[in-house]
Structure formats: structure tokens, C-alpha cells
């Protein structure tokens, strides 16, 4: 059944303070909407349960990308179109620019925001694996002030997170690393455009003399949340890239992923493909490693 716009209360507020005051005053009553690429889909299908909506689109405090000496900060309301075309992101965080360019279509990218992608909490979301390998921090804001957490701690289960009903995502902060890193990102979907991920893997690494000195690996659609692969990283760190390391890494990978059967793929396929993607990333490290 088609949703009726008159059955939802939808308001605009004068500024961010007013939005936060309302979220605090009536906890859990209000749902924030920015680009609408999730909420309007639910509305059109008549399954939008939120009765009270507050507008976040165009809130200036959430709309900018700011570069400092140490960090690149992306406001929660920044769109994927802004992200994929930002010169600093392209130069220093290319995996994020690439992930942004894979989200839906051009029309989706001009509306979908980074905070929406995160807060929606889909394990298949495109941006989170890139954010995880770049050691992102997430800054939340409420009427009481702000708090800053490691993004890898933010998602706590299927569509569960540490976000309180009084909070919004103010910004994502990415520490700037100036050293050259090996980088990897691959998304496996049904088609190239407009596809939701069956399996995706992101990775960054540095290596010296065929041994890995720093590594970050994260994946989508292999668990109930976007997942940083801590055990797999540990199996590889400071190890030479040989057969026995690769075999231990694969074992560690399979110990920490929890793929499921769903309408897009099967657990078995995901388990195999995530291991193949890891192999491809490690092969790339081996090839790039100065000997």
C-alpha cells in the first residue's frame, strides 16, 4: 500500500541546536531525514513506521569536508557526490572515493549522505569497509555536547549501534597518513551499477622486505555489521608472506566472519569469495613489496 504523506508529521527546524533540543525533549519520537534515499523508499512502499520526521537536509554544520594538519573531517550530511569529487579524499583516501562512486547511481549519490549510510546500519553498506581501514572515528552530537568514538566500535549488531536517540552523527574523522600504502577494494555484486553488495573487502597495508608492517582489513556482507577483520590482520602482521602465513590468515578470516544465506547470496558463496578477495589483496601486497 502506497504511503500517505499526510499521516506523517514532518518539520524543518531553524538550526542544529533546535534539532538537538527536540531530539532530547521527546526521546525516540523523532526520526531525522537527510537525502531520503532510505526513508522515502519506505514511505513510498507504505512501510515507514516513523510518525515524526525532522529535516536534516542542508543543515550547514553537517555539510562540509574540513581538512586540518592531522585529519580529514566529513560532516554527517556530506553526500557521496561531494565525497567522490573531493580532491583530498581522492588523493589520500582513494578507497572511500571509489566506494562513494559505487553507491547506487549518480542521482542517489547526490542525495545519500555519509551519516545516513552509517546510521542505516546495513552490513552491506559501501562506505563502512573503507572507513574502517582508514581508522575512522565517529563524532556524535546531542544537546549535551559531543563524543568521539572509534568507528570500529560503533556498530554493535544487526542495525544496532552506540547512537542514542538524542544523538546525530556530527562528523567522521579520518587521520591523515602521509606514507604510501598498498590499497585494495573490491565489491562483488550482481551487476556493476545499482547493485547491493554480496561480499566486499577493503584493505590497506605497508610492507618491508616481504613482511607486513601495518595492515587493516574490513569487509561488508559477511557478518551482522560492517566488520573490521582483527584476527585476520593479527595473523598477517609482521609475518612473511608465504604459504603458511596465507593459510593461517584464511583460517583466521573464517573464524571471524559469519556469512548468512539471504536473497542476494548464500553463506557458502560468501565464505569462498571473501577468502578469494583476501588472497587477491595479499597477492597485491606481495607484488608491491620492495625486496
Amino acid at each position: 500500500m502506497r504511503g500517505n504523506p499526510e499521516s506523517h508529521h514532518f518539520i524543518d527546524a531553524a538550526n542544529l541546536d533546535e534539532i538537538l533540543a527536540l531530539l532530547a525533549k521527546e526521546p525516540g519520537e523523532w526520526t531525522a531525514i537527510a537525502g531520503g534515499t532510505e526513508i522515502m523508499v519506505a514511505h513510498a512502499a507504505g512501510r515507514l513506521s516513523a510518525k515524526k520526521l525532522i529535516n536534516l537536509w542542508g543543515v550547514p554544520e553537517l555539510s562540509n569536508i574540513v581538512v586540518t594538519e592531522t585529519h580529514l573531517s566529513i560532516g554527517g550530511g556530506v553526500t557521496f557526490n561531494q565525497i567522490r569529487h573531493d580532491a583530498t579524499i581522492i588523493a589520500e583516501f582513494p578507497l572511500l572515493a571509489q566506494a562513494a562512486s559505487w553507491i547506487g547511481s549518480i542521482a542517489n549519490q547526490s542525495r545519500a549522505t555519509i551519516a545516513g549510510n552509517i546510521v542505516n546500519g546495513s552490513p552491506a553498506a559501501d562506505a563502512p569497509p573503507a572507513l574502517l581501514v582508514y581508522d575512522a572515528e565517529i563524532e556524535l552530537i546531542s544537546h549535551k555536547g559531543t563524543r568521539r568514538l572509534a568507528y570500529s566500535d560503533f556498530h554493535t549488531g544487526y542495525k544496532q549501534s552506540l547512537l542514542l536517540s538524542s544523538e546525530l552523527v556530527l562528523a567522521i574523522h579520518l587521520p591523515r597518513h602521509h606514507e604510501q600504502q598498498i590499497k585494495y577494494l573490491r565489491k562483488v555484486g550482481t551487476r556493476r551499477a545499482m547493485a547491493i553488495t554480496k561480499v566486499a573487502l577493503a584493505g590497506t597495508a605497508s610492507s618491508v622486505h616481504h613482511a607486513i608492517t601495518r595492515i587493516r582489513i574490513a569487509a561488508a556482507s559477511v557478518a551482522d555489521r560492517p566488520l573490521r577483520l582483527i584476527a585476520t590482520e593479527a595473523a598477517l602482521l609482521n609475518e612473511p608472506l608465504n604459504e603458511s602465513t596465507l593459510s593461517r590468515a584464511r583460517k583466521a578470516l573464517w573464524s571471524e566472519v559469519r556469512p548468512i544465506d539471504d536473497l542476494r547470496s548464500t553463506a557458502e558463496y560468501r565464505k569462498q569469495v571473501i577468502a578469494n578477495l583476501l588472497d587477491e589483496f595479499l597477492t597485491q601486497i606481495a607484488r608491491s613489496s620492495p625486496s
Binding site: 504523506p5 499526510e6 499521516s7 506523517h8 508529521h9 514532518f10 518539520i11 524543518d12 531525514i33 537525502g35 531520503g36 534515499t37 522515502m40 523508499v41 514511505h43 513510498a44 512502499a45 520526521l53 529535516n55 537536509w57 542542508g58 557526490n81 547506487g104 547511481s105 549518480i106 542521482a107 542517489n108 547526490s110 542525495r111 556493476r192 551499477a193 545499482m194
Partner: protein, 164 residues
């Protein structure tokens, strides 16, 4: 602000528009029902097919996913705005000449997405056209004739520019 009716002012195809609508009403429905601009089509209604594509403040958007409250003060361009003084846009002419339109449901969205592409990339490669139109689904043409239409329009625009 009531959830019932909300007065909103914005610009459509260069003309000022003022409507009263529930704030969550879709831009698509306001265009078609309140303003009589039925060129913009509804396909999937969930941002997958692109037949409701319009430009809002210079960005390509799916009008089925834009609540009208967010359109206040914006500049919206629909397929009707492509034709100026009865003269077809080079893209519209090219779609006719190259067989880029068949049943017609996707055509307005294709034209708007293609005009958006040409606005920032006047001479697109085939890959750029494929990406620019990836959010617009067509079940008739197999897409090739649409890509040819965009290439032809870009070439024609270029030759017109050179002639001037």
C-alpha cells in the same frame, strides 16, 4: 508547521512556483499533480529506475525520493524545460533520430540524466555515458541506441559551438 499543508515556493524551469502540499509529499507528485508537469514519470517509486529524474540546484535527483519540504527555495529543472521556444533540445532531436526512445516511459529521465551529464562533461566517453545513465533503466532499447543518441547530441552541440 502542520503535517497537513505547507506552503512552498521554488523555481521550476525558470518560473516561480508556489504550492501548498503536505511536507512529505514527493517532488514527483507535486510536479505531476499540483503543477501539471506530467513529463516526469514514475517507474519504480524507490530510486532504482531513474524515470522520475529531475535536476535540483544543478544536481541530478530522483524526484520520487525528495520530500517537497526540502525543495523550498530550490531551482528545479524537468524534462519540459529542455525544449526552449518550441525548439527541441539537441538530445531530444538525437533520441528521435537515433531511435533512443521506444515505449517512452524511461525517456524523460534518460533525457534529464543525459543533459545533466553533458552539462559537466560536454564530450563524454562511452564509459562516462554508461555511468551517467546507470541509474536509468530501459527495457526496450537495450541501451545502445540511447548511448548513440547521447554521442550524437554531444557531437552536434560541439559542431554548433565551432560554427559560432
Amino acid at each position: 508547521m502542520s503535517s497537513r499543508q505547507f506552503a512552498i515556493q521554488f523555481t521550476v524551469n525558470g518560473q516561480s512556483a508556489r504550492v501548498e502540499a503536505p511536507p512529505l509529499k514527493r517532488l514527483l507528485d507535486v510536479l505531476r499533480e499540483d503543477l501539471g508537469l506530467t513529463g516526469t514519470k514514475e517507474g519504480c517509486g524507490e530510486g532504482e529506475c531513474g524515470s522520475c529524474s529531475v535536476r535540483m540546484n544543478g544536481a541530478l535527483v530522483n524526484s520520487c525520493l525528495v520530500p517537497i519540504l526540502q525543495v523550498e527555495g530550490s531551482v528545479v529543472e524537468t524534462v519540459e524545460g529542455l525544449t526552449v521556444d518550441g525548439e527541441l533540445h539537441p538530445l531530444q532531436q538525437a533520441f528521435i533520430e537515433c531511435g533512443g526512445a521506444q515505449c517512452g516511459i524511461c525517456t524523460p529521465g534518460m533525457l534529464v540524466a543525459a543533459s545533466h551529464l553533458l552539462s559537466h562533461t560536454p564530450y563524454p566517453t562511452v564509459d562516462e555515458i554508461r555511468e551517467g545513465l546507470a541509474g536509468n533503466l530501459c527495457r526496450c532499447t537495450g541501451f545502445i541506441k540511447i548511448f548513440e543518441s547521447v554521442i550524437s547530441a554531444a557531437a552536434k552541440k560541439g559542431s554548433q559551438a565551432h560554427a559560432r
